[in-house]
Symmetry: C2
Subunit: 391 residues, 2 copies
Amino acid sequence: MLSRILIVVFVGGALGLGQVPSAPPPPGVPAPSNAPNAQYPRINPDSSVTFRIRADDAKSVRITTLGPYEMVRGEDGFWTVTTKPLASGFYYYAVNVDGFTTTDPGSQAFFGYNRYGSAVEVPGPESDFFAPHDVPHGTVRQVWYYSKATGASGSWRRVFVYTPPGYDDNRNTRYPVLYLQHGAGENETSWTNQGHANFILDNAIAAGKIKPMIIVNENGLPPAGVLSARGDAAPGARGRGGAMIGNRFAEFDAVVSKDLVPFIDRTFRTLARREQRALAGLSMGGAQTLRIGMNHPELFAWLGLFSPAIGNLDPATDYDGKLADGAAINRSLRLLWIGIGREDSLFAGVKASHERLEQAGVKHVWAETDGAHVWTVWRKYLVDFGSQLFR
Amino acid sequence: MLSRILIVVFVGGALGLGQVPSAPPPPGVPAPSNAPNAQYPRINPDSSVTFRIRADDAKSVRITTLGPYEMVRGEDGFWTVTTKPLASGFYYYAVNVDGFTTTDPGSQAFFGYNRYGSAVEVPGPESDFFAPHDVPHGTVRQVWYYSKATGASGSWRRVFVYTPPGYDDNRNTRYPVLYLQHGAGENETSWTNQGHANFILDNAIAAGKIKPMIIVNENGLPPAGVLSARGDAAPGARGRGGAMIGNRFAEFDAVVSKDLVPFIDRTFRTLARREQRALAGLSMGGAQTLRIGMNHPELFAWLGLFSPAIGNLDPATDYDGKLADGAAINRSLRLLWIGIGREDSLFAGVKASHERLEQAGVKHVWAETDGAHVWTVWRKYLVDFGSQLFR
């Protein structure tokens, strides 16, 4: 019975999972963002969340990033806490045990804050549009390509590519492409893992709300070591650009324009022209979208800025003053979409940017919505922005 | 300058990464398995590994799963430890802080032990065959399909599919398929993330050692809740089977034979016959391979058992006695491959199974190798087994 002994050891948790309750679980259900079989975190009927952690010798355990919530040790040795009722949505969180900030073993791993961390999805009526339904499903592909624009001699890079339902069968169909970027501290996996962009597209395409398209997610922030080793400055930068972040953006601009777009057009059945190519991103990715969009009108005719990190734009000087000529921008772009939630800490700055763009005569869609600086909002923006693309 | 402020907050680590050393780093290099930019764990010139953790108020911090190694608090407040020199390879590990067992923020997340945990890759001369090289690269696809064999009314399941270089271009070429399974506590991501099966195939195909093929990775262990809710028993089980693990295997057998294989043959350009279809797995996946292989000779003509959890087989009773008729098995199978390392705790039991199969006249390749029950070994087995397939 060696096989059974082995399996029990592995499944039972040689690492001391501490997830199996000793009594029947309370009301509520495991969060959909949990690791397989993990009973906690648990979504209660009032949409509060109960966390439960085993830390036998700890003096202090708390939930951070979300909250913070101090946890209390029970008689069974487990530390627990229940949050206030939460609006439906996606919440990053961390566990801090005696000063060590790390993950909850009950959660799946999501890359955010430059680490693989924890998150809890609180379901609600609005969760339906990103859930897998009985509709045709697209494919999320990991593909590798060589970029000469990174490091001293280039490097292999991984990119996530969503191909819509029917892509493999409709051999004569070519598709428009949306290049869709994450925020700072996230990466090419985030629009799939946190955002469920693939299910959002599957559902919206089935409903006829979004045209079938390819979506490409790259890693927008190359390692700092590569950049400091090169020591280059953003070429010709006036206004924004020139600093460390400017250099990182310049490097990503080169990755996208010199290597990524040609690779995608060479590898997939794309409609390889600017009118069939969009660029969008959230937070830092929104700032990159505006910068790369301004630098490469030959590549992108549709730009989407989701809660973008572009407060208090100065159209006269930022991006080499390209935004100062509203008429030229309006001739070039088919859509400039800017959305942000009123509870977002960036709201005031982005609203000021919106007003200055209006003053400069730069046409754009301004979407002032509910919500904070969270994935809950960006998933909806993908539907709003996506439904306007390539029309 | 709101954008820069935001980015610095995100990148600098709102969660208190504790990875940035305050002095120049010591000799050695960050492990290739680290999260982006993480300086620790660090591979030293003698192939020892230095771990470094911030836990300000902890009484006790240690590395477990690997080791254990007690960490020591330095004057800078960081806890560190250096292991003995390690053989090159892939090592799962965990961090225990005052009784809380969790991840190291410096590591990528690997699904093992039923959780997203940490691991360190110690490079060596043998790391080359699974590294990305300047050869044509295949694609790793996440695809979703509906399986009626799981739960009360079925469920959407995700499967990872490797398509070899040229798959999208060679529209008239059909390919054989290897169904390749993980061990207990791992899942459909493991052969890509831990095993680098895609790079192994890219390199071996380029070298002409392995024929171009499709590889499919499913999740071999459905949630226990689903199974206990159904309460079914393994049908007609004699010998192995009938217990909890037997039920789980029966459910996975149904997923593979009724839903997965037809879906793959419907969706990809496969050579849809048993002579062009192989099944293999490691540890628990090796036991599942033998069971599903014995139940479905109509599906698979090639079987690979990598360090399988099948100690002390009794060919007369196990798997309904199907292994007792060596001549029938030999007519049916093109290859039965069994490999295990001499340092594996399962070695004695699997060697006994090998000897009993010989006594029963069941032809098989017996690969007795160096190594323990680790991914380091299974990556090599994929090359050894894969190079014999479909010849």
